[in-house]
Structure formats: structure tokens, C-alpha cells
């Protein structure tokens, strides 16, 4: 299979610690282990093991032993190319795992690595990772004052013109650095749209809320209590609006993914999880159904980009 035959060429986007490498590690653990067969798995490795897989092996090694995956080093990425079978169809999965720090640095410095932009330009599907425990909000003084009043306090007296009439003290870098998570994610998508050629007018985007068990603890018992879509609307409303408002430009899907299957800092959880294969630990929720199909985002991207 050559790159010209690529059915889905995915680029993974996200801030640091958003779960990109964990997802890849868990997926690799499932794919390479012929014994880890789950009933609802629809993605499998096609042919022999690919070359130069130490990166994936290391990530899978950590997860299988109940340890968290190390973060990808800044200014580096891993070119992951896997030949897969997705729903009985051969697929060349080409994922570009990029350090989240590189992406954040890109947003602040407003300069992107050429290789990264080339890959974004050539991909035909995106995965956007979100860490639910690392959400920066706009946090306005109005909200803080409202909260203070609700708690019986009294916010400071309003004093006008406390700042210089024409303020140039805040740099653009500072503004980007302190931008809310939703703004950063939207800017990543906008930069991607800017970079891509117009050959893929409606690029599919799979939004993966990682560590979903921290949002919806019931997911580990196979139940849905929280909808990933509703969660995005509640915690990242700007991103939710952006995804819904641009259906003419791209299709999107939001999934909650528990790739680790639990909190690896909890010894009891680790003890219990390490007895199971990765395919039995992972949980994927679309808000109505919980599956163990970690390839669900890929399956959807494949269908959506067809």
C-alpha cells in the first residue's frame, strides 16, 4: 500500500497532556497483541509488524504495566504509519503525533514547524484531543464579582479609568499565552484549515475527550451518565459553537475516550487494571453507548472522509 492509496491520513492535534500519545499507545497495545480480541473491535493490524516501533512499544509498555505514558518532547514528533484493516477495508493510518508543547509554542510564537504544516496540509482527517482536567476559561471579573456576591461578599468599588487611556502594555504573546483552552483549540483548527489545500473541502474532525472516566465515572461500568457533546457545550462552549457552526466546512464527532481505563496513580486501580488486557480496559463513549472499540474515532474518520 502506498501513500497514494491512503484512505485516511490523520493528524493528531491537542495541547500538552491531552492524551494523544496515551491513545496511540493503547491502540498499539491492542493492535499488536493478537490475543487481545474484544467483541466490538473493528480495527486490526494488517500484515506483519511495521518497522521502527520503539515509540509505540514504549507507550504500550508503560500502559500495560499500569504506568502513565511519558509526554512527547517538545520540538519532536513521531511519524506513526500503520497498515490497518478497518471494517474489513485496508487502511493506511498515518498519524503524526506531535508534542502538545510544540503546538502551544506555535500559537504563542505564531510560527509553525514547516514539517508539521506540511503534514497538516496533506492530511485528510483530524483528531483533536482535549484533557478534561486542564481547561482554562476566559474567567472575567464580572463572573468573579457575581460569585463573590453570591457568597455574601462585596466586590471592590467600580473605579473608572484605572488603566492608561491607550494601553499597549500587554503583548500579543501574553494574550495568546493566557488564552482560554477553547480559543487555543479553535485556533489550532483554524490554522489547520488555513494550511490544508482545498482538495478536502469537508475534512472530518474527531474530538477526543481523553481520561473520560474522570468526567463520567460510570463509563468504566459500561454506562453513560454524561454526554461528551453536552460536556463540550458546558465546559468549552466556544468550541462547541465553532464545531456546530461550521458543518459546511467540516464534519465533527465528539467522543469520550478512556484509553488508560482508570487513574494510574491509584494503586488499587492499577492492581485491578493490570490483570486485564488493554482491549478490556479501554472505554469509548459517544453519550449513548459505551464500547471497547478504541478504533471508533478512526472508523468514523474513515467513514466521514469516504
Amino acid at each position: 500500500m502506498t501513500r497514494a492509496d491512503v484512505a485516511v491520513d490523520v493528524c493528531m492535534l491537542g495541547r500538552h497532556s491531552s492524551g494523544k500519545t496515551t491513545y496511540l499507545g493503547a491502540l498499539w497495545s491492542i493492535l499488536r497483541n493478537p490475543g487481545s480480541i474484544a467483541a466490538d473491535r473493528r480495527v486490526a493490524l494488517r500484515g506483519p509488524l511495521p518497522q521502527r516501533t520503539a515509540y509505540l512499544d514504549a507507550a504500550a509498555h508503560a500502559l500495560e504495566g499500569g504506568e502513565s505514558v511519558l509526554r512527547t518532547q517538545r520540538d519532536t514528533g513521531e511519524d506513526v504509519v500503520l497498515e490497518l484493516i478497518v471494517d474489513d477495508a485496508p487502511v493506511l493510518l498515518s498519524q503524526f503525533d506531535v508534542a502538545g508543547e510544540s503546538m502551544e509554542h506555535m500559537l504563542v510564537s505564531r510560527t509553525a514547524p514547516g514539517q508539521l504544516m506540511n503534514r497538516i496540509e496533506s492530511c485528510n482527517a483530524l483528531m483533536l484531543f482535549v484533557n478534561p482536567s486542564d481547561i482554562a476559561l476566559l474567567a472575567t471579573i464580572r463572573q468573579a464579582n457575581t460569585l463573590e456576591r453570591a457568597m455574601g461578599g462585596e466586590p471592590p468599588e467600580r473605579a473608572r479609568n484605572v488603566i492608561p487611556p491607550v494601553d499597549t502594555s500587554v503583548s500579543d504573546e501574553q494574550i495568546w499565552k493566557h488564552s482560554p483552552t477553547a480559543v487555543q483549540l479553535i485556533e489550532l483548527l483554524q490554522v489547520s484549515a488555513l494550511a490544508r489545500s482545498e482538495s478536502v473541502p469537508r475534512i472530518p474532525i474527531s474530538v477526543v475527550i481523553s481520561a473520560w472516566e474522570t468526567v463520567d465515572p460510570d463509563v468504566v461500568r459500561g454506562k453513560c451518565s454524561v454526554s461528551p457533546v453536552a460536556w463540550v457545550d458546558s465546559k468549552l462552549p466556544l468550541l462547541g459553537q465553532y464545531l456546530r457552526a461550521n458543518t459546511s466546512n467540516f464534519r465533527s464527532q465528539i467522543l469520550g475516550v478512556s484509553a488508560q481505563g482508570g487513574d494510574y496513580s491509584d494503586e488499587a486501580v492499577v492492581e485491578e487494571l493490570t490483570r486485564r488486557q488493554m482491549s478490556e480496559r479501554v472505554r469509548v463513549s459517544d453519550g449513548t453507548i459505551v464500547s471497547r472499540d478504541l478504533g471508533a474515532p478512526l472508523t468514523w474518520l474513515l467513514q466521514a472522509s469516504a
Binding site: A58, S68, L70, T111, M117, I141, R158, Q190, S265
Partner: protein
């Protein structure tokens, strides 16, 4: 030496903005490796002798007693190649990387690594407000509607734009959704002083710079299942309009105003709070709008909207009267433009007022406006020149140079 748990609590950073000094307990109760200020090289050799304890115990509190570069390496686990490790030894889920002893060696073979430090970077744009040329390109590309905010200094033009963005960050504005912006930095700058991160006690907005070369903000909004609408909003300094009632020249604001699809006239309701100021405030508003009309500042077919800003400062018993005054001005000079009461940042910190209605009005379709006769003549001669030159390249360049 290995670290089997989280070294928590003691500050190792001289420059920590919230720390009480090196060796003190972190005021944020952060484990050291969670601290954004943690620098391994800052750890001195006089570390505590406290034993490392597992992170889950939650009470460990010490400076790492070993080479910080080994933070994530287990005893029985051979060190992976350097390039596999993150500098901070943190794991992908943001937790410190816990490594227990294992009989199974970690893989450390060949990889398909890509080094981004090689090769040149690509500019992704600054996300700051647009120059006239950039705005013109976007106008063409997205069939955008241009909106100009007109009002004297401190009447709330910039605050209004910042408030729009703040509201979108909280959810939909009425039935309108945020659909993107090429000037996110510009919007965030406009609400910077309304954010806690600014360190201010009260939300405020700095004055817009007179003569600024990048006055245009780009905003895409969408509702129901309609296609997104692109707005190019000119946030011009109030100084351009301060003396216009007396016949002052609009300067750079003139060409921008005449090409606007929609003009939002902002009248500060706060100026009507004191009964003794009301006649002056009314005269100033009428004078400005009348002069702009009479000097041909607007294109034919331009849609007009009057916004009564800081409406929360208007006495309740005068509110209806103020709206009637504005409606009269609209009737007399703006062919019955709609009047909307606005409060972008109410003094009682309640939800902003009128933004959804304003968006409804600003996005109401208008027929493509034609320019006043003198501008049409200039445009015609320009088109003729292009036709005579017979150069497509010239045509493109000319279009790029024109303000929207």
C-alpha cells in the same frame, strides 16, 4: 537512586511568583513536578533527607535527593534513550511519571522521529486586527459585511466588541453561534482588562489608538442551519468622530465609513443620567449624525442602527424618553433606523443587555450599497484605467489595495 513517588510541596524556584522562598512549602500545594516554575537545575545539593513516598499518599514533602534528570527512571528499568523522555519527566496525563520496578525491560529501539527544530518555520498569522488591505481580501473571499462603529471617545465601541467575545465564550448569544475569527487576538485584547488574568479589580477597556493601522476585526457567526455570516468590524478610534459635528474631517475614517454595509451609531446613555446634561448629549448626537449624513459620509443603501450604550446608567424614569429621542433622530436622519438599548458591562455585573438583538440587526441582509456619486466617479475612472491597461495582474493589485 529512584523516585517512586511524587516529590511534593517544597519550592525550589527563586523566581516563583507565589512562593515564599526556596525550600518553603508551596502555597499552591503543588507537587514539585506539577509546578510550572519547576526547574530541575534549580535544585541544590542540600536536599531534604525525607524518603520518597508514593504520590497517592499525598503527604510527601521534599526536594528530590538525586539527580533530577533521573526523576522518571526506575531502578530496575534501564534508562530509555534520551530522546524518549520529556524534560520534566511528566506523564501525558499531566501526572508525574511513576515508574515502578519491573522485570520487563522498556523498549528502546529505533523510532520514526521527526525533529521540528530542523527546517524553517511557517508563519501562521498573528491573529491581530486586520489592515485595510487584509480586510479587503477577506471581504472578497468570504462575501463579508462591513460594519463601522461610530461614536465619540469612551462611548463604548471597543467594550461592546470585547463583550461580544466574552458572551460567546460563555455560550450562544441569543440564537447566534460563534463560527470563527481570524482576529482572535484582537478580541482577546479587547476584553483583556475585563479578565481576572489582567490583575484589575474592575473591568475596563483602554481607549483605541487614533491612527491605528489595523482597525478591522473579523467575526463569523451562524444561527440555526443557515450558512455562517462574516462580519468585518471597524473599531475606529472615537477621536475620528469627536469633532465631526463641528465639521472636522473624518480623515482615514472617511473611506472606511463610506464603504460600510452597516453603520452602528453609538450614543452613550450615561451622558443622559444628569438632567442638566441631557440637552447637550442630545445635541451632540444629533449634530454628529446630521453632519455625517450631510457630508455624504455614508454609502447609498447603508443600513443604520443606533445603539444606546451603558444603558444601565440611564435613570429608569428616563429610559423610555431616551429611546424616544433616539427614535426621533433615527427617523429624522437615518430613515427610521432601529434603536437598541445596550449594556455591554453592566455596573451590577449582571448579564450584558441587548447584544443578541444587536447581532440580529447587524446581520440583517442589506442590498449591496452603492457609493456616493463622487466615489462612483473615482471608481469608474479606476475601472476604465484597468480596462485600458488590459492587465489582469493590475486588476488584482488594485483590488488588494482598496479598503473594504
Amino acid at each position: 537512586v529512584t523516585v517512586t513517588g511524587t516529590p511534593a510541596g517544597r519550592c525550589v524556584d527563586l523566581d516563583c511568583p507565589v512562593g515564599a522562598g526556596v525550600g518553603s512549602v508551596c502555597l499552591l500545594e503543588k507537587p514539585v513536578m506539577h509546578c510550572p516554575n519547576f526547574r530541575p537545575e534549580a535544585v541544590d545539593g542540600t536536599a531534604s533527607d525525607a524518603p520518597a513516598t508514593p504520590a497517592s499518599s499525598g503527604d510527601s514533602e521534599h526536594v528530590p535527593e538525586h539527580d533530577p534528570s533521573e526523576l522518571s527512571v526506575g531502578l530496575a528499568e534501564p534508562a530509555p534513550a534520551d530522546d524518549e523522555l520529556d524534560d520534566s519527566g511528566s506523564s501525558e496525563d499531566g501526572e508525574p511519571a511513576l515508574r515502578r520496578e519491573s522485570a520487563v525491560q522498556a523498549p528502546a529501539g529505533p523510532r520514526r522521529r521527526v525533529d521540528f527544530s530542523e527546517g524553517e518555520g511557517v508563519s501562521i498569522g498573528l491573529g491581530i486586527p486586520l489592515s485595510p488591505r487584509e480586510a479587503a481580501r477577506l471581504m472578497q473571499a468570504e462575501d463579508a459585511r462591513s460594519i463601522v462603529l461610530v461614536g465619540p471617545p469612551d462611548c463604548g465601541k471597543t467594550t461592546l466588541l470585547g463583550a461580544f467575545f466574552e458572551m460567546f465564550c460563555e455560550g450562544e448569544v441569543g440564537t447566534w453561534r460563534f463560527a470563527g475569527s481570524a482576529t482572535l487576538n484582537g478580541f482577546m485584547r479587547r476584553c483583556w482588562h475585563a479578565r481576572i488574568v489582567s490583575g484589575e479589580d474592575q473591568a475596563d477597556t483602554p481607549r483605541t489608538l487614533y491612527g491605528g493601522r489595523r482597525p478591522f476585526l473579523h467575526l463569523r457567526v451562524q444561527r440555526d442551519d443557515e450558512l455562517p455570516i462574516t462580519l468585518i468590524i471597524a473599531d475606529l478610534a472615537g477621536d475620528y468622530f469627536r469633532d465631526v459635528a463641528s465639521g472636522a474631517d473624518l480623515a482615514e475614517a472617511g473611506p472606511i465609513l463610506v464603504r460600510a454595509h452597516c453603520v452602528l451609531h453609538l450614543v452613550d446613555s450615561g451622558h443622559f443620567a444628569d438632567p442638566r446634561d441631557r440637552q447637550r448629549a442630545r445635541s451632540a448626537a444629533v449634530g454628529r449624525i446630521r453632519r455625517l449624513c450631510e457630508m455624504g459620509a455614508f454609502g447609498e443603501g447603508t443600513r443604520h442602527v443606533i445603539g444606546l450604550t451603558r444603558h444601565d446608567l440611564c435613570p429608569p424614569d428616563f429610559s423610555a424618553e431616551l429611546e424616544r429621542i433616539a427614535a426621533d433622530i433615527a427617523q429624522d436622519w437615518l430613515k427610521g433606523a432601529p434603536v437598541i438599548a445596550l449594556s455591554a458591562r453592566p455596573s451590577d455585573d449582571s448579564t450584558p443587555l441587548g447584544l443578541a438583538s444587536l447581532l440580529d440587526e447587524l446581520t440583517t441582509p442589506v442590498r449591496r450599497n452603492s457609493l456616493p456619486e463622487r466615489h462612483n466617479a473615482a471608481l469608474r475612472s479606476s475601472v476604465l484605467a484597468v480596462a485600458r491597461a488590459g492587465s489582469a495582474a493590475y486588476s488584482r493589485r488594485d483590488a488588494q489595495d482598496a479598503p473594504p
